[in-house]
Amino acid sequence: MTKNIMIVGVGGQGTLLTSRILGGIMVDAGYDVKLSEVHGMAQRGGSVVTFVRYGEKVYEPIVEEGQADVLIAFERLEAYRYAHFLKKGGAIVVNDQRIDPITVVTGAAEYPEHIIEILEKDHNVYRVDAQAMAKEMGNSKVFNIIVLGLAAQHMDFDKEEWLRVIEKTVPQKTIEINKKAFLAGYAMK
């Protein structure tokens, strides 16, 4: 059975690093894996999405509407934008942060209110203010790994495996803080 995961956010939020960790753990576990990312222009503050699929044999590298088991969102509006990709009973793990798109900054559009509450009507939503937690840990950049830790609760890998792959994937100097960030997300209720 192929499992489908999506990581969505705003260009520059670190979706690529997170997807590398996900890809790493799946290959180590012996699965066939495909990941698909967005590089180039959209990375300049645009809406970005990474697809991760793993199972015995994976053909298509993208996740399509109604297929995702887990949606990892680094920003609220992006969770809302891609929620229709979730299958029934899928989980949304959302970093409770607001980043206004330029359409909102210029007044051409309004940032939707009550996104989390709307999403909760149809989906299992797990929210985390990872920004605040990361800041408390002394490195606001590791917020994405906190979110990943929370999302990891909905995937079939051991804590130790996660930590081993994080150690292999992140820059040497940031291994400890990233591990700490992951564990903080992983321990959340």
């Binding site: 290959v27 066939d32 990941l35 959209a42 300049r44 298509e60 109604g66 206004d100 359409t103 900054v105």
Partner: protein
């Protein structure tokens, strides 16, 4: 056991080049091809790798290396193939000595490009064979096949990838590098001096070669008929093959690895064995038209579009299968924008204030076309800003372009902008050219070029001075200015656009995302001084948001502290504080 590594398609292409014994690689960065060279340089002990100023030069570097007897390659995005097509069309006649491969990365869906052209069309016109891998493993394997075919058939070979393949990761089994012995060089003007008498002979050789290859293609392993249920049969290649397998795992599929020239007999045989034949190829109906011209009944573009990226769901819908879908929420779009702290925003805020139109070019600064800046009026191709502005002047006279400038980045200027500037000088233009020098090739993720002073392999070299390059053309008015000095920049733009001579304004400030580039301060709002006028919001920095009461907030994690918002506040309601 062989090592298995998860690799980006582009990383796998680089690995394939390494394993194939490539010795020279040249490229100009362009999404989605850039990571090929960035990964090849990891093997710099055995492969010479460079960023060339443009794709034509890159192709010629690879061609020279091939003629001298080593395996060589160049890589580029699809529109780069246009730039390289001059040498490509002719080396197709000449052929190779050491294997020669051009990797072309197409962009169906236009994730980061100005058009959606299909490299296979160019390859057909140039009579160059094309291989099309469909996952990371094949991306690596096909590179090796490409070099073998190149040498066997004495032809350059194109390996065509697409954004989805280049930027997808999948497991790849690694092999060792095979060291290929250099081929001896022998002078052979009939093959490599393409003047008319010689080229006539080579044209015949090319036709013969393609015919032979088409025949041999019927038994090549990379063209594979997978017979299952014969009620329906697909012909597919590249990433489209994966969508077919995803949707119809039990259907018969003819998977093409070599997509030009086509294995006619193999296709005819496959067609005769299936009841319904569907051609599922992304972008242009390249093999569909050929197959139909042979009198084979099949469906293709009747069912599928020539625009955009394909997907499994597109195939499901065409086959009238059930696609579960929930309507998407209607939410504000989030288009790409200039980053907080981007020097281009500062330049555009000045041009906007002065009501100036910009003939634009290719790079991050193309984003000056969108709200709230709305400064850039045209974007065509690399280098076109300067030459198209010149054309406007020649059409309408010098006064017509007094409120126009050409804007071009440093890397794009070195690519092909320099030719256009020569033309403007030579043909007595009076345009104002702004070179937005952020010391890097920004949009593609920070690659060096001839004016940065560093090579792909990390060597520190003497940087070509853009200032002196312009001066050497005889341009009197070449001015350098800090991109964030908005007052000075405004004065200079007024002065230079008024002039009846060519002038060049080089706005200097490194890309804020460059390693080590940082502003000492951060911007902080002072709500009690705020008059809620919104002037600070005009340049459109994404770190700023308007609060409900009309004052502003500045996102601490996004703000890079460039101070542009502060320079637009007349009431000192934004301060800079040390980070």
């Amino acid at each position: 056991m062989a090592e298995v590594k998860i690799m980006l398609g582009n990383e796998a292409i680089a690995r394939g080049a390494y394993e194939a014994g490539v010795k020279v690689s040249a490229a100009y960065p362009g999404t989605p091809s850039t990571e090929i060279s960035e990964n090849i340089v990891k093997y710099k002990d055995v492969i010479y790798a460079e960023w060339s100023p443009n794709e034509k030069v890159a192709a010629e570097v690879a061609i020279g290396a091939s003629i001298s007897g080593v395996r060589a390659m160049c890589s580029m995005k699809h529109v780069g193939v246009n730039v390289a097509s001059d040498p490509l069309y002719t080396i197709a006649y000449g052929g190779v000595n050491g294997g020669l491969v051009l990797v072309a990365a197409d962009d169906p869906g236009l994730y980061s490009s100005q058009n959606e052209q299909d490299t296979r069309c160019i390859a057909r016109a140039a009579m160059v064979p094309v291989l099309e891998p469909s996952d990371s493993q094949e991306a690596k394997d096909f590179m090796k096949t490409a070099f073998e075919l190149s040498e066997k058939y004495d032809t350059p070979v194109i390996v065509r990838t697409t954004t989805r393949l280049s930027h997808s990761q999948g497991p790849v089994t690694l092999c060792d590098r095979v060291e290929i012995e250099d081929k001896p060089y022998e002078r052979n003007p009939a093959k490599f001096v393409m003047m008319p008498a010689n080229a006539k002979g080579r044209h015949l050789a090319v036709e013969q070669r393609m015919k032979q290859m088409a025949e041999d293609a019927c038994t090549m392993e990379i063209n594979r008929a997978e017979y299952k249920d014969t009620n329906i049969g697909f012909i597919a290649s590249g990433i489209a093959y994966q969508y077919v397998k995803e949707v119809c795992p039990d259907a018969s599929v003819l998977k093409l690895g070599l997509v030009h020239p086509l294995p006619r007999k193999l296709i005819e045989e496959f067609a005769s064995k299936v009841d319904r034949l569907i051609i599922f190829e992304e972008l242009e109906p390249v093999y569909e038209e050929q197959i139909k011209s042979w009198g084979i009944r099949c469906e293709g573009k009747e069912l599928f579009t020539v625009q955009g990226e394909y997907s499994a769901n597109m195939l499901r819908k065409a086959l009238q299968m059930v696609v579960e879908s929930v309507p998407a929420a209607v939410v504000p779009a989030r288009p790409p924008i200039l980053c907080p702290g981007c020097p281009h925003r500062s330049v555009y805020s000045v041009l906007k204030k002065l009501g100036i139109h910009a003939a634009g070019d290719i790079g991050c600064y193309t984003l000056g076309a969108v709200p709230p800046l709305n400064v850039v009026d045209t974007t065509i191709c690399m280098g076109a800003s300067i030459s198209s502005l010149h054309g406007m002047e020649k059409a309408k006279g010098k006064d017509y372009i007094k409120n126009w400038v050409a804007v071009i980045g440093d890397s794009t200027f070195m690519h092909t902008g320099v030719n256009s500037l020569m033309n403007m000088v030579y043909n007595q233009g009076t345009g104002t050219v702004m070179i937005l020098d952020n010391s890097t090739t920004g949009m593609t993720g920070h690659q060096d070029h001839a004016a940065t002073g560093k090579t792909l392999q990390g060597d520190v070299v003497s940087a070509i001075s853009i200032y002196h390059l312009c001066k050497s053309m005889g341009i009197e008015n070449v001015v350098e200015v800090n991109a964030f000095d908005t007052e000075e920049l405004e004065r200079i733009v007024r002065e230079e656009t008024a002039r009846d001579k060519v002038s060049v304004i080089i706005t200097k400030s490194p890309c804020v995302l460059l390693k080590g580039q940082t502003f000492p301060d951060k911007c902080v709002p002072v709500p009690e001084k705020c008059k809620k006028c919104g002037a600070c919001l005009k340049p459109g920095c994404p770190a700023l948001t308007k609060n409900e009461d009309g004052t502003i907030s500045i996102d601490e994690t996004m703000c890079n502290g460039c101070g542009l918002c502060k320079s637009y506040c007349k009431f000192d309601a934004i301060e800079t504080k040390a980070k």
